[in-house]
């Protein structure tokens, strides 16, 4: 009579569990590294709330520098994670990756005079990592990750709208207001399910209200710069 459990089965399963544990540990190390770079960049970026636009040329290069180390870590992560089923471990890095994306989005928005928003494919080429793969099982940036990152820069910018007024840069507040309202309209296009994305997207309306209030205060006092003079030219120090 054959035994209840084939003797080789135990070793086989045990070694698979052990392999899984090793993979997780290695992933955690890379993700930790990413997390550190992201936190540092976020810290640097938080200075925008107290830095007038004229001083950006000294601040932004530092941000760019630290973003480079994020990109390096993401590519390391990409190489490692691509060896394994993507969605098996995706939850381990999705948060720090979202944060990383949002620093990149915010950085590029701030550093371009016309305030360009990087599209998903721009982001993908920025990191040299593919985007929203549906058949190939490799590391990539998902649609949800991009959208969630977008929500978090909206939050940041709504705060900046207020602080830019404090710094005397009313033009920036108006620019932010236009940008956020356009994005808000964009998010309305999506069909969302009851998930994390829905929850985060729902919060955009508070950011919209915040910037609308700022713009209202400005217009009430006639502080909105003339329509002709836009963007970078109307810096007030």
């Amino acid at each position: 009579m054959p035994p209840m459990i084939d003797p080789s089965l135990f070793d086989q399963i045990k070694s698979k569990i052990e392999e899984d544990t090793t993979v997780r540990k290695e992933l955690e190390q890379i993700v930790d590294e990413l997390h550190q770079h992201v936190s540092f960049t976020q810290g640097l970026l938080s200075r925008i709330h107290s830095t007038p636009r004229s001083k950006y040329p000294t601040l932004l290069p530092q941000v760019e520098e630290s973003i480079k180390s994020q990109v390096a870590t993401v590519s390391k992560l990409s190489i490692f994670a691509s060896q394994y089923p993507y969605y098996k471990y995706n939850h381990k890095w999705t948060r720090p990756l979202q944060d990383s994306l949002s620093t990149v989005l915010l950085f590029s928005w701030l550093s371009s005079p016309s305030h360009t928003l990087l599209s998903p494919s721009d982001v993908s080429s920025f990191y040299s990592v593919p985007l929203n793969l549906t058949s190939e099982d490799k590391f990539h940036i998902t649609t949800e990750e991009y959208l969630l990152a977008l929500v978090s820069i909206i939050d940041d910018l709504s705060r900046l709208a207020m602080n830019s007024v404090t710094l005397g840069d009313t033009a920036l507040a108006v620019e932010i207001s236009t940008f956020i309202k356009d994005l808000h309209a964009g998010f309305q296009v999506l069909n969302l399910k009851n998930d994390i994305l829905r929850k985060r997207v729902d919060s955009i309306k508070y950011a919209v209200k915040k910037v609308e209030d700022v713009v209202y205060d400005l217009s009430l006092r006639g502080l909105i710069p003339a329509a002709g003079a836009t963007e970078g030219e109307t810096k007030k120090e």
């Binding site: 009579m1 054959p2 035994p3 209840m4 459990i5 084939d6 089965l9 135990f10 086989q12 399963i13 045990k14 698979k16 569990i17 052990e18 899984d20 544990t21 997780r24 089923p85 993507y86 969605y87 098996k88 928003l117 599209s119 998903p120 929203n132 793969l133 549906t134 058949s135 190939e136 099982d137 490799k138 649609t143 949800e144 991009y146 959208l147 356009d182 994005l183 309209a185 964009g186 998010f187 309305q188 296009v189 999506l190 069909n191 969302l192 399910k193 994305l197």
Partner: protein, 301 residues
């Protein structure tokens, strides 16, 4: 949102003022991008929905198989005919469902929708239980995967002449193409297998309890061997030790610990059965059937 007035025919009345355009399709530089992203998200949500629906049905069918198997009274190569027939029809239904979702859970999507595929755990439970009742052994993942492949293949074959394109459109536009291509496989993950086997211990416990109560013997192998035939008590002990010895999976520690605890309880319940039978078994006349309505039947979990 706001209602509109109707004339007395019930037709919507025109407002006095100029009506706002029916849908304010706000167009700005981001609209196009968001429309693309919407399509990507929709694709994912729709697929997920289809998988969840099939998964729920597969779970229900698997549970019915398990119930049918619980009506078996002894471990034997041949299941009673009526039970085998019931299982076969259920499996045929499962096969069809599996075939519909198989193309959707290939490659990268296997893990993407892993949490929507809890049915596979249930199916593993049913298949391992069936295998145990026939052979008194634990089926290995290697033995299971051809069974799964076979199910999917059977699920696809009868529906080839019937038009069922809506679900398969992703895999193949034409049925010929589907034939040419290898039939998609529904792979089981290690977790599907292990958690299915965890649940198997619960089923074995229930089976041991009822079969012992009704037949008066502890289920086990035939007595033809010279040694004492192995009984379900030993099998449960072996399964119990098997899980105790395995390292805890890092992914879902909590669930693992919970399942392990339930397994421990099941092992102990069967142990107790073995003890009772050894102590009192000889006192009980052959064919004696205990009062199953009794309060302290360990049958209920």
């Amino acid at each position: 949102m706001s209602g509109f007035k109707r004339d007395w025919n019930g037709n919507a009345k025109k407002r006095d003022g100029p009506k706002p355009p029916p849908k304010k399709a706000v167009q700005n530089q981001f609209t196009h991008m968001f429309e693309n992203l919407r399509d990507e998200l929709d694709q994912h949500h729709d697929r997920r929905e289809r998988i969840i629906k099939a998964s729920r049905d597969i779970t229900a069918l698997s549970k019915k198989i398990i119930f049918a198997l619980q009506r078996v009274r002894k471990i034997d190569e041949e299941l009673p005919k009526n039970i085998q027939a019931e299982i076969d029809t259920r499996l045929a239904d499962i096969a069809k469902l599996l075939a519909t979702i198989a193309p959707e859970i290939q490659g990268i999507n296997r893990y993407r929708y892993a949490r929507s595929l809890m049915c596979l755990e249930e199916l593993v439970e049913a298949l391992t239980f069936c295998h145990y009742l026939k052979t008194q052994t634990l089926i290995s993942p290697e033995q299971l995967s051809p069974i799964m492949d076979d199910l999917v293949r059977k699920g696809i074959t009868p529906s080839e002449d019937v038009a069922m394109t809506d679900v398969n459109e992703l895999a193949a536009a034409t049925p010929e193409k589907l034939e040419e291509k290898e039939t998609p496989k529904v792979s089981l993950t290690q977790d599907d297998y292990l958690y299915g086997v965890f649940d198997l211990t619960g089923e074995m416990m229930r089976f041991a309890t009822t079969s012992t109560a009704l037949t008066g013997t502890m289920a086990g192998g035939g007595a033809e061997g010279d040694d004492q035939p192995r009984t379900i008590v030993e099998d449960m002990h072996e399964l119990g030790s098997f899980f105790e010895m395995l390292p805890v999976g890092q992914g879902n520690r909590f669930q693992w610990e919970k399942k392990l605890e339930v397994t421990r309880q099941s092992v102990q319940k069967v142990e107790r059965l073995g003890y009772d039978r050894t102590i009192r078994g000889s006192e009980r006349p052959k064919g004696w059937i205990p009062d199953l309505s009794g309060g302290d039947q360990p049958e209920e979990e």
